[in-house]
């Protein structure tokens, strides 16, 4: 399970068993020394399921919490490393399962990919959004105002051409455009 020479392993096993027995009796210094000593071993076990370093560290912490919760299930007459390895392996696999389950329910938001952290980078998208808003606001205007705006401002006709096309006087078109622009300004300011 663990790397290292067999002789070294035996010494370490005995040391760990001794420290854990002391920890069970309430010796905090032994417990802290044991946990610090075990972290590389735990990391090696969980690294089989998790690749990203932050996830490995999450799993290590989860294993440490579990070890703490079930520390009374260790029998000091038995070797410590298999007990620890079993906990590490099972918690690590549980964590992986939970993550896979969570990821299966995640939704891909395509819009999110088009939005950037830097506001300046979003100006193309925002310009398109504003044009769409303006279109909607124009469509919502009273018929006379909408026609005046369309002819004079969007199709860029002169007042006379627009008067001929609409059958209204140039004066009334002017008034309609004035009111329409006022209404659009008021509506788009709120957005």
């Amino acid at each position: 399970m663990a790397a290292g020479k067999p002789g070294h392993d035996v010494v370490r096993q005995e040391r760990w068993s001794r420290l854990m027995a002391a920890a069970q009796a309430g010796d905090r210094a032994s417990y802290e020394a044991l946990l610090r000593d075990c972290v590389p071993f735990i990391r090696a076990v969980v690294a089989r399921q998790h690749r990203r370093p932050d996830r490995v560290e999450d799993a290590v912490q989860d294993v440490l919490l579990t070890v703490h919760r079930v520390r009374h299930t260790y029998d000091p007459r038995r070797p410590f490393a298999p007990w620890l390895a079993a906990i590490a392996r099972r918690r690590s696999i549980d964590l992986l399962r939970r993550r896979l389950r969570a990821e299966a329910h995640e939704v891909v938001d395509e819009e999110a990919y088009e939005t950037f952290a830097d506001p300046a980078a979003n100006k193309d998208k925002e310009a398109a959004d504003r044009a769409a808003e303006l279109g909607l606001a124009v469509a919502a205007l009273p018929e006379g105002q909408r026609q005046a705006i369309e002819l004079v401002k969007l199709r860029e006709m002169s007042l006379e051409e627009a008067a001929r096309a609409s059958g209204k006087s140039a004066g009334s078109l002017k008034v309609s455009i004035h009111r329409a622009i006022k209404a659009l300004k008021a509506q788009l300011k709120g957005v």
């Binding site: 069970q24 946990l35 440490l64 703490h68 079930v70 009374h72 299930t73 099972r90």
Partner: protein
């Protein structure tokens, strides 16, 4: 990240109150079984017709069924205690299965012999209802006490531990039932027994799914 691990270790060490290591699982299982045997012996002496039982037990088929239920119960209880610990083989879960197969086969054979008891009202369920109530009412105190002991180990996967415990309780209840059940099982009986066993296993599994996580929740709130 490693700093957070360091802080966690300090936190855990500060919280390390003394704990009493659990005794070996076989010993814990043995003590529970002994207590159950003592209580059951009292009940049998007080309420069952032992002479009738002795006569019926001469039938090798019933003897096989008795042995199968008792062995399933004992094996499942011992296995549950082992499985509740993190470092014991997962294969313990398979230990009661051969005995369970023998139990189902022997009950099934008896059903084949008797098929269905048809009375004036159609299928007779009166005696089965009695068994159903017996298995459930024996199962509740047995199951509750066993679950309390099994949960002391705070099993990493509580579900299989509780399910095995439920099988153990159901096996023992079915064994004890034979002392108060002066007839062979019919097909209906077997169905009723199976439903009762499934209920005990299901209820234990459900209860076992609620592990005590208070300590972990408190400590992980870093």
């Amino acid at each position: 990240m490693a700093e957070a691990t360091d802080r966690l270790i300090e936190r855990l060490a500060a919280d390390a109150a003394p704990v009493r290591p659990l005794r070996p699982p076989a010993l814990r299982a043995g003590l529970w079984l002994l207590a159950v045997a003592a209580l059951a012996a009292l009940g049998i002496i007080a309420f069952s017709d032992l002479r009738l039982f002795a006569e019926r037990a001469r039938d090798p088929k019933l003897a096989v069924e008795l042995a199968a239920t008792l062995l399933t119960g004992v094996a499942a209880v011992v296995a549950a205690f082992h499985l509740s610990l993190p470092d014991r083989s997962r294969l313990w879960a398979l230990v009661p299965l051969p005995m369970l197969a023998l139990w189902i086969a022997s009950s099934g054979y008896s059903c084949y012999r008797h098929w269905i008891a048809v009375g004036p009202e159609g299928w007779e369920i009166g005696e089965s209802a009695h068994c159903f109530v017996f298995i459930l009412s024996a199962g509740v105190p047995l199951g509750a006490s066993l679950l309390l002991l099994l949960r002391r180990a705070r099993p990493l996967s509580p579900l299989p531990v509780a399910a095995l415990g439920g099988l153990g309780v159901a096996g023992i209840a079915a064994f004890l039932l034979q002392f108060f059940h002066p007839f062979d099982v019919t097909f209906m009986d077997l169905g009723v027994h199976l439903v009762a066993v499934a209920l005990v296993v299901g209820a234990m599994s459900l209860l076992g799914k609620l592990p005590p996580r208070r300590a972990a929740a408190r400590l992980s709130g870093l």
